[in-house]
Symmetry: C2
Subunit: 357 residues, 2 copies
DNA sequence: GAAACGAAATGAGACGTCTCATTTCGTTTC
DNA sequence: GAAACGAAATGAGACGTCTCATTTCGTTTC
């Protein structure tokens, strides 16, 4: 059994209260007593029992983060940022994985609550929703900051990228390269951020005076097979293959690339491509893939800041924070070739690709 | 404040002891009392305070895992396996990141210890070592299972891949394709597993009757710049470029590929390549990269099994377990072209590459 | 040197839970 | 119906820490 303060007190020849005062840094301790206690700590290799302390102080100095799938590289990057901010402020961060299941997510939150964490960072799972009452009760009296994906029906603090604007930037880039037939493939549209990104697509087209074609909106999934099916369907549209494809997240984007490669199409030869998120080892992909990059570290970092503000009694009553961070576009080979459409000769548009060089 | 058992007792009209008996599942409770308590739990939305329970029972049902860098995809996969095994047995898993620093690793372990986790999975940080006494004291009275990287000076339970055998398999594969001048690039050789993989290299060459050339052993690093320097140096050897390169881990392997691409060399055109570990989105790399794949999920899963065996009073005294799991080789385009060496004509070997159609 | 004062030290009590010895209760047996 | 018995319920005490009211101590002041 690890040593306790009582044993320290005995060894140092002072009372247990004095030991506690030394450890918690009270000033009303004489140098002589402090030295004796510190010596005892050294001798017994004492480490405070944080569990007992938490029980008494009702503080755990611990935050929790629940992510949908820790094996998707996007999330560990956010965790890194969150952990950094937490540590700087003297908090621990417990990482849990909901495996993209709302049920499991509820379990994880209940667990963190039972562990008496002081607040939670939540990247909501996709899939089936809990009833609103259920999810409200899960987080009642517990500060929660949502990251990346925002629950439609919950009014909470949140940190994410300016999804609409970021998508618009990506699409504008493609339009700037001369594309007019730009398909978009999304993740599940039950996710709020996916909806926003789709909105950004519409917005960009509108600004560019290009009509939105329903046959170019491929509303998608995170599943490889499903994405493959969607791509196949999309390619079959009567007016032919689009010249460019934009994916609203890295998982779907990678799945789409795989599917298209599988049927013999490659970028940039057969289609121009850009995607949300950095595909891992992106600078190594041949060809390089144009990406809309989210500031993952900052997202985690900022989210902890917002959460701690909510936890702090002084500032807990502030208005809901909705942090929107800007994304960055990195243009690479998959999209940086200008694309020209010849003036219509007959009903079928004729496309040609001209390579600069 | 969340409701307590005392409040439950008041509402249900029974004593606090009975409430506790219901919650902890004792049998000596009448159905009538049990129903009343359960009803009270429902009404108050009671959740047990795990902190208070832990203080009393001296059990936390929590394990910790410390990884060097959660953003390296290899580690989250291990975490997934560990979390799975832990959950099945009713344990929670706290994930911490040592950021490859031994000092920070020590802090993380101290933290977990103060949190009174029941055991630790440790993937040791590289870099500067702590003194043996220090690291021994860190883990005294606390079950620890080391994963992947084994500390040379600590006798602990461990789970890792058969590093030597796995490397031998990779090298044999290259030899089987006709290569005789095979360079190996490693991570820091302070890591035990890197040493073992290098040993596998020597062993494979020995069995194949090929002499080991010091100029083909590029002892390396995880840092991109350092790896680039090492590759450059390696290429300058008097007897010319090796025909094949084997990397002993994914991080170094990816860095090496980048460096070589940067100087205009590509695989498989200019050199044959294989590496430990799956490079993320590997099936998407062009060309596909031959990999020695570690059973990451299983490693995490097995490690928790070993750890729990050590925690369980019944089996805590068993002999040290040294689990060695087999790796798998997946041959892809970067290495699956047979390579022929023409019989020596003069002192300088003439190489030629024949591509099977 | 007694009184006054502030600093230092003490020790009781509590955080929410579980355990276990003790008490209460209901049923069975003769 | 009293005695015996086992099941059910109770309540005191403890886990290790912190807090805070109280006490002790040492120094200063007149």
């Amino acid at each position: 059994m690890p040593p306790t303060q009582k044993e320290l007190a005995k060894l140092a020849g002072v009372s247990a209260g004095t030991v506690s005062n030394v450890i918690s840094g009270s000033t009303n301790v004489s140098d002589r007593s402090r030295q004796k206690v510190l010596e005892a700590i050294r001798v017994l290799n004492y480490q405070p029992n944080l569990i007992a302390r938490s029980l008494k102080t009702n503080r755990t100095n611990t935050l929790g983060i629940v992510v949908p799938d820790i094996t998707i590289p996007f999330f560990p990057k956010i965790i890194r940022g969150a952990e950094s901010a937490a540590r700087e402020r003297g908090y621990f961060l417990i990482v849990l994985d909901s495996e993209s299941s709302h049920t499991r997510e509820a379990d994880m939150i209940a667990l963190l609550r039972a562990q008496r964490v002081e607040g939670i960072l939540l990247i909501p799972a996709g899939g089936e929703r809990l009833s609103p009452e259920r999810s409200a009760s899960l987080t009642s009296n517990l500060p929660v900051v949502c990251l990346d994906r925002l629950p439609a029906d919950l009014d909470v603090d949140s940190v994410c990228v300016d999804d609409c604007g970021a998508a618009e930037m990506g699409i504008s880039h493609l339009m700037g390269m001369g594309h007019r037939e730009i398909a978009i493939i999304t993740g599940p549209l039950t996710l709020h951020n996916e909806q926003e990104r789709l909105r950004g697509y519409r917005q960009a087209l509108k600004k560019g005076g290009i009509p939105v074609q329903p046959s170019l909106i491929w509303s998608g999934s995170f599943e490889q097979d499903e994405v493959a099916r969607i791509c196949q369907n999309g390619l079959l549209r009567p007016s032919g293959r689009p010249s460019a494809l934009f994916a609203t997240n890295g998982v779907t984007g990678l799945a789409a690339l795989r599917s298209l490669y599988a049927v013999g199409l490659s970028t940039p030869r057969d289609f121009t491509f850009a995607t949300f998120d950095e595909l891992t080892a992106e600078d190594f992909f041949k060809p390089g893939i144009t990406s809309v990059i989210q500031p993952t570290f900052d997202m985690g970092y900022r989210a902890v800041e917002v959460l701690l503000k909510r936890i702090d009694k002084e500032t807990a009553d502030g208005p809901r924070e909705k942090v929107r961070l800007p994304a960055t576009l990195i243009a690479r080979e998959s999209s940086n070739t200008p694309f020209y459409v010849e003036p219509k000769k007959n009903s079928a548009a004729i496309r040609k690709t001209a390579r600069a060089k």
